[in-house]
């Protein structure tokens, strides 16, 4: 019994466990608050509404439907994981990539022309989309590295530039623009740029957007995990992010590190676009605001405890409740309610570090009393 207890104590003391616990707390808090919102708007349907938000695909009675929508949730999770990793990489290096939406948009431009227009193979389109995202992100990086321009400001500016650039170039262009639906052509299965499904469609009851992308992003997440855990590049990025003066002192090249961090971050934002667009799910629509996935990535990265593997779960959670939320419109809630509800949950998820800080202080107090006790004992 004692053994179990001490093991549990050790587990609790571990930083990773703490982060995971706080993330769970925040998610729970968000769910409770979301439930209150539903209660306020329509008390009689609130419980049922909540269960469909939480249940998502589980509310279907037909097992085939369940599987199909589960597959859809997974497929939509992949791009968000990529986006979370994008935010995470830059954050670890002491930068804040608020320009992820812009990088995503520019990647969409590349995907539309090369994928739809030129019909290049899917892997090449993915690589080029990542390159485009990386290059666009490196504009902010270079401004930061050489002129010390705040990357948040330049990132936001570049979001708008990218948005209108992509709007302007794509819309009405006969090569890529579907006038009938007034959006860019969707990359359908059969198209070269369509990411292969490698049998997942059969596994998920004929769902046609789930595929290799899911596996790909898991591999990438593991690569990012190893980048920070095992490589000198990751070591330098972390050192720069935690204490740039010490990184300087140790002779690390600031310019190089900023460029590397922004490039990786941008490439991942580009990958998010590929995973979202090259599976027949959606395409670029005219819009007057930058794609919101760039900002959703921030919540997801924080909810995931800024851990490359943690964001897999946080991204899934966010997509899960967003998908579930889109179903409650059938219960007489307006679509806005679903958005408000999911936003509240996601918003509270951002509190992870706040809660963690409180826990840390509590812990510190504990530590101090322990230390002083030790001292008395030795004296």
């Amino acid at each position: 019994m004692n053994k179990v207890k001490s093991f549990f104590n050790k587990l609790i003391k571990k930083d990773g466990t703490k982060t995971a616990l706080t993330s769970l707390w925040c998610a729970l808090l968000g769910l409770i608050l979301g439930f209150f919102i539903l209660l306020m708007i329509n008390p009689s349907e609130a419980t049922y509404g909540m269960s469909s938000v939480l249940g998502n695909y589980l509310v279907f009675t037909d097992p085939a439907d369940k599987l199909n929508y589960f597959g859809q949730t997974l497929a939509k999770t992949a791009p968000l994981i990529a986006m979370s990793l994008s935010i995470l990489v830059s954050y670890k290096a002491g930068l804040f990539n608020l320009g992820a939406s812009g990088q995503y948009s520019v990647a969409v431009l590349v995907i539309s022309f090369l994928g739809v227009g030129l019909n290049l193979p899917w892997w090449l389109v993915i690589i080029l989309a990542m390159v485009a995202g990386a290059l666009y992100s490196m504009i902010s990086g270079a401004l930061k590295a050489f002129f010390n321009v705040n990357e948040v400001i330049s990132g936001i500016m570049l979001n708008w530039i990218a948005l209108y650039l992509v709007n302007g170039i794509l819309s009405g262009n006969p090569l890529v623009w579907d006038n009938a639906h007034s959006e860019a052509f969707v990359i359908e299965s059969g198209n070269n740029a369509y990411i292969p499904q490698i049998g997942f469609d059969k596994l998920f009851a004929g769902n046609d957007i789930v595929g290799l992308g899911m596996i790909l992003i898991l591999v990438i997440a593991i690569i990012i995990f190893f980048l920070f855990k095992k490589t000198t590049i990751g070591y330098e990025l972390k050192a720069t992010g935690l204490n740039k003066d010490a990184a300087d002192y140790a002779g690390m090249n600031k310019v190089k590190n900023i460029l590397i961090a922004t490039a990786i971050s941008g490439a991942l934002a580009g990958l998010a676009a590929s995973l979202n667009m090259q599976n027949g799910f959606t395409s670029w629509k005219l819009s007057s605001v930058p794609p919101d996935i760039g900002f959703l990535g921030i919540s997801s990265a924080f909810l995931g405890g800024l851990h490359p593997l943690g964001v897999i779960f946080s991204s899934y959670f966010i997509v899960h409740i967003t998908e579930g939320g889109s179903m409650i419109t059938d219960l007489g809630f307006s679509p806005e309610v679903a958005s408000i509800m999911t936003s509240v949950i996601i918003y509270l998820s951002g509190f992870v570090f706040f809660v963690k800080e409180i826990l840390r202080r509590y812990d510190l107090k504990d530590e101090l009393t322990r230390l002083s006790r030790d001292k008395e004992e030795t004296a």
């Binding site: 490589t231 070591y235 050192a239 935690l242 204490n243 003066d245 010490a246 002192y249 002779g251 530590e367």
Partner: protein, 538 residues
């Protein structure tokens, strides 16, 4: 007759955790006098003045103003008692004008005084409670009066960011006078000023004194202390040492009181003949990036194998910048640096490290460590890229752990856990041991150690001194920067004294006494040195 003091602080004691910052300190300021508060860095000067200004509350002791006991719980209280303070770092708002800064917090509102009709009454009421329109005209008149009275010329309409530091100081002084303060505290007011500006500042002090203000003036520069003060109070390591009347004492006496007479661990070193030059610095000049002031001015020296050369000086006299220049953390403006005869002036930091420089930085939290890294990760902070620790970008964790565990063992680095412990959770002494161990183990030709024992307890200090002396035995060239006289004397083979960015004297430890060294460090001997230099030139 019982003399009534403007301010009496009796038996003031203040603890921060376990550190006794002030231990039963007595300060008596006579009306219309200038009292100089002298002591080394960390002696507790700023603490006691912060207590008087209400920033801290003392644990023990009483404060009397004009013979009456008062309690000062916050700066507003102090202002009400007409106590004003100019902090070392000015408390001004950069983007406000001089006028706005002066009246900030003490704005007089527009108010009709005579012929009050209903409208004017209503306006007065509304303005007092709602609009709060400021009467700039009246404020300007009052301030101009003060400017004339004390001869403090400043342009009221310029923004703070557009005026020079000495002007900003005048603004701070006017601010105090505008609030009708009659007890004025200056915390190291001359640290930021140039020679001529200091002269002007001292004149202002005399003017203020003639107008009946009582002044406390913190400084460790004895020249200016002797020029303007009436009394001197010396504190050392948080303790009250002595109060003296300026005209009855000498600079030598005060400086010996400041540093203390006790000299320990003087000649435990084995004699050693230095040979081969390792570091050579020629005409090094460095500028402050903002003010373009020369913080290091034409400094030349060398360090040879098997000797410890110390840059001694009070903090902020350019020693830090010399080291930044040598290690590459800051750009050098002019001059050359040679390491083993190779010109390394234009090398990057990494290239300099590879060329053979080890550096124990002054600020272990800012430069020396990454606090959220583990001990393992910190032990290879400046050598993770070496073959032993990584190959093709992949970190060799096993080797790092092995190496770090050796270091932990050899340098007795203690933490609550193993090498995975976060460095943030460790004590200062053990953190410093990581840095010292790391830099010494790299076995480079040149070891630079900047204030290597700052903030450590006596045991840790001795350990680090031993390690440095051992490096000397091993025939390394060692450049030490220190402002602690004990350390300077117990370690150095040669002492270079820096004052205001220049080397003002070079001595062997046996040629100079502590008191004399203290005098050089506080600039008292500078004129003498200049005179000698001029003679030589002629």
């Amino acid at each position: 007759m019982n003399e009534v003091y403007a301010i009496e602080m009796l038996g003031i004691t203040k603890k921060f955790g376990n550190i006794l910052a002030n231990d039963k300190i007595d300060i008596r300021l006579q009306k219309g006098h200038i009292l100089a508060l002298c002591g080394e860095n960390g002696a507790g000067k700023s603490t006691i003045m912060s207590i008087l200004f209400g920033l801290y509350e003392p644990d023990e002791g009483i404060i009397k103003k004009d013979g009456k006991e008062v309690r000062i719980t916050d700066p507003n209280e102090a202002t009400k008692l007409n106590i004003g303070m100019v902090h070392q770092h000015f408390k001004l708002i950069d983007t406000f004008t001089v006028l706005e800064n002066i009246i900030l917090g003490d704005e007089s509102l527009i108010e009709y005084k005579d012929n009050l009709n209903l409208f004017k009454k209503a306006f007065n009421y509304l303005n007092k409670h709602v609009f709060k329109l400021i009467d700039y005209k009246k404020a300007r008149e009052e301030i101009n009066k003060i400017i004339d009275q004390y001869d403090l010329r400043v342009d009221l309409d310029k923004k703070i960011k557009d005026i020079s530091v000495d002007m900003q100081q005048k603004v701070e002084i006017i601010k105090m006078l505008y609030r009708q303060n009659d007890i004025l505290i200056f915390d190291e007011p001359t640290a930021v000023l140039t020679e001529q500006e200091i002269e002007e500042f001292l004149n202002i002090l005399r003017n203020l004194k003639n107008e009946g203000k009582s002044i406390i003036f913190i400084s460790h520069k004895l020249n200016e202390v002797f020029e303007v003060s009436d009394e001197i109070t010396v504190i050392r390591k948080g303790k009250f040492i002595k109060s003296l009347v300026t005209k009855d004492t000498t600079k030598e006496e005060v400086s010996s009181l400041m540093v203390g007479r006790k000299i320990n661990g003087f000649n435990e070193k084995t004699p050693k003949e230095p040979h081969e030059e390792v570091l050579r610095v020629e005409h090094l000049t460095m500028l402050d990036p903002f003010s373009k002031k020369r913080v290091v001015n034409d400094v030349s020296f060398n360090v040879r194998k098997g000797e410890i050369v110390t840059l001694a000086g009070i903090d902020g006299n350019g020693q830090q910048e010399v080291i930044y220049g040598i290690t590459g953390i800051k750009k050098i403006h002019d001059g050359k640096i040679f390491l083993s005869k190779k010109d390394i002036s234009t090398y990057s930091i990494r290239e300099k490290i590879k060329a053979g420089i080890s550096h124990i930085p002054e600020d272990r939290h800012k430069h020396g460590l990454i606090l959220d890294f583990s001990i393992y990760e910190n032990t290879v902070l400046d050598r993770y890229y070496e073959k032993e620790f990584s190959h093709c970008f992949i970190i060799n964790e096993k080797n790092i752990k092995k190496y770090a565990d050796e270091l932990i063992e050899k340098y007795d680095i203690r933490s609550s856990g193993d090498g995975n412990t976060n460095v943030r959770s460790m004590s200062g002494g053990n953190q410093q041991k990581i840095i010292v161990g790391r830099e010494i183990e790299r076995n480079q030709d040149l070891l630079i150690a900047v204030q290597p024992t700052r903030g450590l307890d006596i045991g840790a200090i001795e350990g680090i001194h031993e390690l440095i002396l051992k490096q000397r035995e091993n025939d390394k060239a060692i450049l030490l920067v220190s402002s602690e006289l004990d350390q300077v004397f117990s370690l150095s083979d040669r002492i270079l004294i820096m004052y205001e960015g220049e080397i003002v004297g070079e001595f062997l430890p046996k040629e100079i006494t502590k008191n004399k060294l203290g005098l050089y460090m506080s600039g008292a001997k500078k004129d003498e040195v200049n005179a000698i230099k001029e003679n030589e030139n002629e």
